[in-house]
């Protein structure tokens, strides 16, 4: 048993974070939160076949391609995070 209750709580939270993907925390960045939300939404769209049908009908693509697009979008629905973009810029400037 951990002696420090604060630490215990923290480790419990951490455990929950890893178990339930997408759970937020007080210091979550806007980008992370948006990404999680978008990923959850995409998962719902993929689960309900008729929603994929709706997108396909609206965009004029086949269901298969829409599914593929959504799965690909799952990776980074809100683009790369700001920190990452900044660090890339820094690296560029260093070069």
């Amino acid at each position: 048993m951990a002696t420090n209750p604060q630490q215990n709580l923290y480790s419990q939270l951490e455990h929950l974070q890893s178990k339930y993907v997408g759970t937020g925390h007080p210091d979550i960045s806007r980008h992370d939160w948006c990404t999680n939300m978008a990923r959850d939404s995409i998962a719902t769209y993929l689960g309900h076949a008729s929603l994929v049908d709706l997108f396909a009908s609206v965009e004029g693509e086949s269901r298969g391609r829409i599914r593929y697009h959504l799965l690909e979008k799952l990776h980074s629905p809100y683009g790369e995070s700001k920190e990452r973009v900044l660090s890339k810029k820094e690296r560029l400037t260093q070069l």
Binding site: A43, H48, A49, D53, F55, S57, R63, G64, L71, L74
Partner: protein, 1263 residues
């Protein structure tokens, strides 16, 4: 407000299809998975698909697989649903439904990111299965058998890997080695991580799963397929990516084979050819795949192997892999199945589902492309030309599909007395406008005129074992016409029938003798020696009515005596008993009589129903030896009976039959009662007004199933459907029947012969749908459209006066709006607004489809649907491919002196819709300069209806720009915050500032542009802007409904807003909004305060302005002018989750004089209705019945019914009628338990359920 929800037409989109033997060993069957239901189908000998069982699972089906234990003869069905449980189902052939074998919980319910259910893979030997989520989680379950051969399932073995997206999972064929599953995965981190093919091995000995191997594959790979292994094939995996398919062997020393996917000539290589579905055919010594691409082209993937015997074990190595073009289907397939008997089932994405037979498995001359072993120059694209017609496949049967159902109008457009539904369904080149009518349609096979007016018509077979009818007897007032049925139908004189008398009844007896009852006597014709026995009634008496079955005959004399005859052992008719029906001899009406037919195993029927033609009663007499012709029960009527019918109704051969007495009266009412087969007691009496003529009842057989015909001024068809529901549906035929009889011949196996006036018609059912499926209540007429239907509007809605003043055209004209993105028509567009397609191209495009264009290239057309001529004519077409017609509206402007009809067309220029596309360049991701973004511009074009004697057309008036393209420099400010995604939001907001909806309001035009609402009046050179609200809703207005001074706006995300137009201030004032968000797709006004809204996620809600708010608004002197936010909020009156995207809701006055009903349609082709509950008693009964049903029939896949119906919002004030109707499928014991809880009788519950079910079946109110 309490509503009762019933599904009228089941969804027609099929997302999953698996084949196997579910009901019996070696049976060839298909299980079709729809969004929320399962259906088992079996092809019959002629190749027609017959539905065996349909089950609503009250949950979302996400994946479906069949598996079979080694050595077993039947398949199990594995369902991945949204219940957070894995379900193993088995088909029970005695009850004809799927039953749960195992249900194992592994996670939360709902379609979540990390809860498995999305992917399902089974080991080919049926030893294990893997169920996976989109991200992270995967479970493996091991199947086994216990001592008594029952299936057992292990506890789950985890194969999780966090921060990994899963694209596909398959089970590899490894023979009897440890089962291996392959998954296509990609890590979140680092962002450029490649996709990889990961193998998971289930160690059966150690009982754990290891992530064995991971090999990188192409970045655009999207699908993997298992290759048959062990003895039959080389084993391994096929990886499909955009440009090619790659074979990967499990042996690491063997090279990959790569085969490019051939492209159609007009497809760019960058876009590639996307494989949407595939089917594997496997038999001894042969296996191949069928791959269907997104354009509907079907390729056969052949693999040639060599056997390697160098090592100890015999191994199979791939020698050559080929892709051969087979044929082009009309549209891509959601799923395909190759059945063992050589049929191909294709579940189409849009358009009808097809059932095909193979003519050949690819011929020499068909395009073929051979795979190469991996090398550098494999990137060269390969092109092929398509077959114009099917060459290797043969279409056997089509199953009609209404999916996707986009828009509709309901009303009595054809003036038939009951409403029709005109729906727009299908997509792109398979778009169709269908007119749905309730009931069944009969088609004429032959019509012939008769010399006089017949008084009756009969058909009879020559021998009991005959399948077809041999004679048709048409009876006139003083003669009979005998027609013999052979290759042709012709009159004969040597049949043994008497021709100079009026025939009353004809019957074939069990000893193959035929009896002809006429007014002067009974003529008994023996089969063998053509001897004829005549029985004559006493002097001065005539026979007035007769009925019989294979061994019994009853006749009623004019003295109102009932005589009962039986066929004795010697084959003679002998009189057994007689009884006097009434003392009164004179009567205005003829008596009528009906005897129950024999069911298998019965030698004699026990009851006869008689009405004497005088009294207002129908009596049931016993025919049993000990109590012969003793009256047993009595049914009171409102008038004298015109026809009686005793019939055994059964759902299918496995279910028990019920004896039903039908009584038709001279006032057009029919009464139905259940007869106790032992005591003869009558119960469950129901009566209905069916028409204005005396009712004639007839027993016929269709597809081997007894059906009662109820003929009056309208005709109906009554049967017990496969769900054990008694269905009564109208029959559509243009003429009224006088007499009808069933007819069965080689050309017309399920037909009827009807007398209409002085003509004789042979009619047959034309439906190819399964007649006895419940919830298939409509039949349809189809007209082909140009593009995907988007909107259907009624031209006359613009004003109450009729559109045209000329009296010849009574019928309405509807306007359709069809639009499609990604169609390449730029070169074909002409300035005159004509359709770019000619009729010959029209035919071709129905087969091959349109050339694919880029995002933002539109094809839009407005067509006039002329109801009277039944024609569709293209009236308007976009002239540039960057123009998108988003909405149309018919209006009469109040400031127009001639009050002519105007058409306003909302056009958006430079608009591309591709929200799901991950590679769409966006300012956020690419840090692109904001001035490189193209923003759309919206305008309204106004046309005037010119109705002169020589031309009827829309005349172009002027164009008004309602929204200029946003200025990119306005976006600069957002960079101030330094966050790129902010500018992305701003950009997307400006990109959504397009015209979305228009409506006519107090003689002015309301235009919704993105979030703003504007009002325009007609001007000489352009529309004149009168007022506007810049931010009427937060995101985007999707539809506008108006009612007096109120305007209801539905938002794409934030539910409904209610505005009031204050004429004094010339302002739109917000009155009310909703507490909860709703992604509205459609809205319909129920009354001044109430709207029904359907949303994208499948909820139907009814929102009402609280009554006190209405008065407050009236009393408020400022009119809410100064309040910033909406001062009031809608109350949620009712809410219900349907299960798929709602595409339309409408309030319909279905029955004249009845309360209006709320009809809704879903995108996948289901049509449902919500009926207001009638009384407080019903409001008590139905919720408690629903509660009991939830307990007694829990959903099949483990979702909780209440939780399912409350998917997004808690269900409120809506009863699930579909669940309540399953009451009929419970056994008697359970039914009794339920009614005991409810404190009602079973009959009560049945009657209530039927009451609501029959609300839409009849055009008359219940009596």
């Amino acid at each position: 407000m309490f509503l009762y929800n019933l599904t009228l037409q089941r969804p027609s989109a099929i997302y999953f299809a698996v084949h196997g033997s579910f009901s019996a060993p070696r049976a060839i069957e298909l299980v079709l998975g729809r969004q929320t239901s399962l259906e088992l189908m079996r092809p019959d000998d002629q190749g027609h698909l017959k539905s065996l069982c349909f089950q609503e699972i009250y949950g979302i089906i996400r994946s479906l697989k069949a598996f079979r234990l080694t050595g077993a003869k039947r398949d199990y069905l594995l369902v991945g649903s949204d219940s957070g449980k894995i379900t193993v189902l088995v088909f029970n052939p005695s009850t004809y439904c799927f039953e749960r074998v195992h249900i194992e919980t592994f996670g939360k319910s709902g379609c979540r990111r990390i809860v498995p259910g999305e992917y399902l893979a089974t080991d080919p030997k049926g030893r294990a299965c893997m169920i996976g989520a989109i991200e992270k989680q995967k479970f493996v379950y091991v199947f086994n058998r216990d001592a008594s051969e029952n299936l057992t399932i292990s506890s789950p073995l985890e194969a999780h890997k966090s921060s990994f997206i899963c694209y596909d999972i398959i089970g590899l064929d490894v023979g009897f080695e440890n089962p291996i599953f392959a998954a296509l995965e990609r890590a979140y981190d680092p962002p450029q991580s490649p996709k990889s093919l990961v193998f998971y091995e289930l160690d059966l000995g150690l009982n754990h799963v290891v992530r064995k191997l991971s090999t990188p594959v192409e970045d655009d790979a999207y699908k993997i397929l298992p290759v048959p292994g062990s003895r039959d094939g080389p084993g391994g995996v096929i990886v499909c990516s955009m440009q090619h398919i790659r074979y990967k062997s499990l042996q690491s020393n063997l090279p990959d084979h790569i085969c490019p996917i051939p492209l159609r000539k007009d497809i760019s290589q960058v876009r590639g050819n996307f494989i949407v579905s595939c089917a594997l055919h496997r038999q001894k010594g042969l296996f191949f795949y069928l791959l269907c691409t997104e354009l509907g082209d079907v390729f056969k993937l052949e693999m040639e192997c060599t056997n390697n015997q160098t090592t100890e074990e015999e191994t199979c190595v791939l020698k050559e892999m080929r892709i051969r073009y087979l044929d082009s289907l009309p549209c891509p397939a959601n799923d395909m199945c190759i059945l063992r008997n050589g049929f191909l089932f294709v579940a189409s994405e849009y358009g009808n589902h097809g059932f095909y037979q193979f003519r050949s498995l690819g011929r020499e001359q068909d395009f073929c492309c051979v795979a190469v072993v991996e090398s550098k120059d494999t990137k060269e694209p390969v092109y092929f030309s398509i077959h114009e017609n099917l060459e290797n496949l043969l279409l056997i049967e089509e199953i009609e599909s209404l999916s996707p159902l986009n828009c509709w109008q309901i009303g009595d457009f054809y003036r038939e007395g009951s409403p029709q539904l005109i729906i727009g369904s299908g997509r792109r080149h398979r778009s169709a406008w269908k007119t749905l009518r309730l009931g069944y349609r009969w088609t004429e096979m032959a019509v012939s005129d008769l010399p006089g007016y017949p008084v009756g018509v009969f058909t009879v077979r020559e021998q009991q074992q005959d399948t077809w009818d041999s004679y048709i007897i048409v009876s006139f007032v003083n003669a009979s016409l005998i027609l013999s049925v052979g290759e042709t139908v012709e009159e004969v004189s040597d049949s043994g029938f008497s021709t100079n008398v009026s025939t009353i009844f004809v019957q074939l007896f069990s000893n193959n003798s035929i009896v002809q009852v006429h007014s002067q006597g009974i003529r008994h014709i023996r089969p063998d020696i053509q001897t004829v026995h005549e029985w004559k009634p006493p002097q001065d008496l005539q026979i007035q009515a007769a009925d019989g079955n294979a061994s019994q005959l009853v006749v009623v004399l004019s003295s109102k005596q009932l005589l009962y005859f039986e066929l004795d052992e010697t084959g003679m008719l002998t009189e057994i008993q007689e009884v006097e029906l009434t003392k009164e001899e004179s009567s205005a009406y003829l008596p009528c009589v009906s005897i129950a037919p024999l069911v298998s195993g019965q030698s004699k029927a026990s009851f006869v129903a008689v009405s004497d033609g005088v009294s207002y009663y129908a009596r049931l007499y016993s025919l049993k030896r000990e109590s012969c012709l003793k009256p047993i029960s009595l049914q009171a009527l409102d008038t004298v009976a015109s026809s009686l019918l005793l019939i055994w109704l059964n759902a299918s051969t496995f279910s028990k039959s019920q004896l039903v007495l039908l009584i038709g009266s001279h006032s057009g009412i029919y009464i139905r009662a259940l007869v106790d087969p032992i005591t003869g007691a009558l119960s469950e009496q129901q009566s209905r007004l069916v028409g204005t003529k005396p009712v004639v009842l007839q027993r016929i057989e269709i597809q081997g199933k007894p059906v009662a015909l109820i003929v009056s001024s309208r005709s109906y068809f009554m049967y017990l459907d496969n769900q054990l529901l008694l269905q009564t549906l109208p029959i559509s035929y243009e003429r009224m029947f006088d007499h009808v009889v069933g007819f069965c011949s080689e050309q017309c196996p399920d037909g009827v012969i009807a007398c209409c006036g002085s003509s004789l018609c042979i009619l047959s059912f034309e439906e190819d749908r399964d007649l006895f499926q419940s919830s298939h209540l409509f039949y349809s007429d189809t007209q082909n459209g140009l593009y995907t239907p988007r909107r259907l509007i009624d031209m006359e809605d613009a004003s109450s006066s009729s559109l045209t003043n000329d009296t010849t055209n009574h019928f309405k004209c509807l306007l359709t709006l069809e639009a499609d993105q990604r169609i390449q028509v730029a070169s074909l567009l002409s300035q005159d607004g004509k359709a770019p397609w000619t009729t010959s191209e029209e035919e071709q495009r129905r087969g091959a489809g349109y050339p694919i264009g880029s995002a933002g290239s539109w094809s839009c057309a407005m067509e006039e649907m002329n109801i009277g001529e039944n024609s569709l004519k293209c009236a308007l077409h976009n002239t540039e491919s960057k123009e998108y017609i988003s909405s149309i509206c018919c209006i009469r402007f109040s400031n127009d002196a001639d009050s002519s009809l105007y058409l306003c067309v909302g056009v958006v220029i430079n608009y591309a819709l591709q929200v799901t596309n991950p590679w769409e360049s966006s300012p956020a991701k690419d840090n692109m300069p904001s001035d490189s973004i193209i923003f759309p511009r919206s305008e309204v074009r106004v046309y005037r209806w010119l109705n002169t004697s020589d031309s009827k057309k829309w005349e172009y008036l002027h164009t008004t720009v309602v929204q200029e393209a946003a200025n990119p420099s306005m976006m600069e400010w957002s960079n101030y915050y330094g966050a790129s995604h902010l500018s992305f939001h701003v950009a997307s907001r400006y990109r959504n500032e397009i015209i979305t909806a228009m409506a006519s309001f107090q003689g002015r035009l309301l235009v919704a542009v993105g979030t703003s609402l504007r009002m325009y009046d007609l001007g000489k050179k352009q529309l004149l802007k009168k007022t506007q609200h810049p931010r009427a809703t937060p995101y985007k207005i999707t539809s506008i409904e108006t009612c007096y001074d109120r305007i209801f706006l539905s938002d794409v995300q934030e539910s409904v807003f209610l505005y009031r137009y204050s004429a004094a201030d010339n302002l739109f004032l917000c009155i009310a909004d909703d507490y909860l968000p709703k992604w509205c797709t459609s809205m319909c006004l129920l009354d001044y305060d109430t709207v029904a809204v359907g949303d994208k996620f499948g909820n139907i809600s009814i929102l009402r302005l609280p009554p006190e708010a209405g008065t407050l608004i009236e009393q408020d002197p400022t009119g809410g002018l100064w309040s910033k936010e909406a001062p009031h909020h809608f109350q949620l009156e009712a809410c219900f989750y349907v299960g798929s995207v709602i595409s339309c809701v409408s309030k319909v006055e279905w029955t004249t004089g009845d309360v209006p009903l709320l009809f809704y349609a879903t995108l996948d082709g289901a049509i449902g209705v919500m009926i207001p509950l009638r009384s407080t008693l019903d409001m008590e009964l139905f919720p408690s019945l629903e509660l009991q049903m939830r307990e007694y029939r829990p959903p099949l896949c483990g979702r909780h019914h209440l939780a399912y119906r409350s998917y997004f919002f808690p269900v409120r004030h809506v009863i699930d009628g579909d669940l309540c109707e399953e009451f009929y499928r419970l056994d008697l014991e359970q039914q009794e338990k339920i009614v005991k809880e409810l404190d009602r009788s079973i009959i009560d519950v049945h009657r209530k359920l039927e009451d609501y079910r029959e609300r839409i079946r009849y055009p008359y109110l219940p009596v």
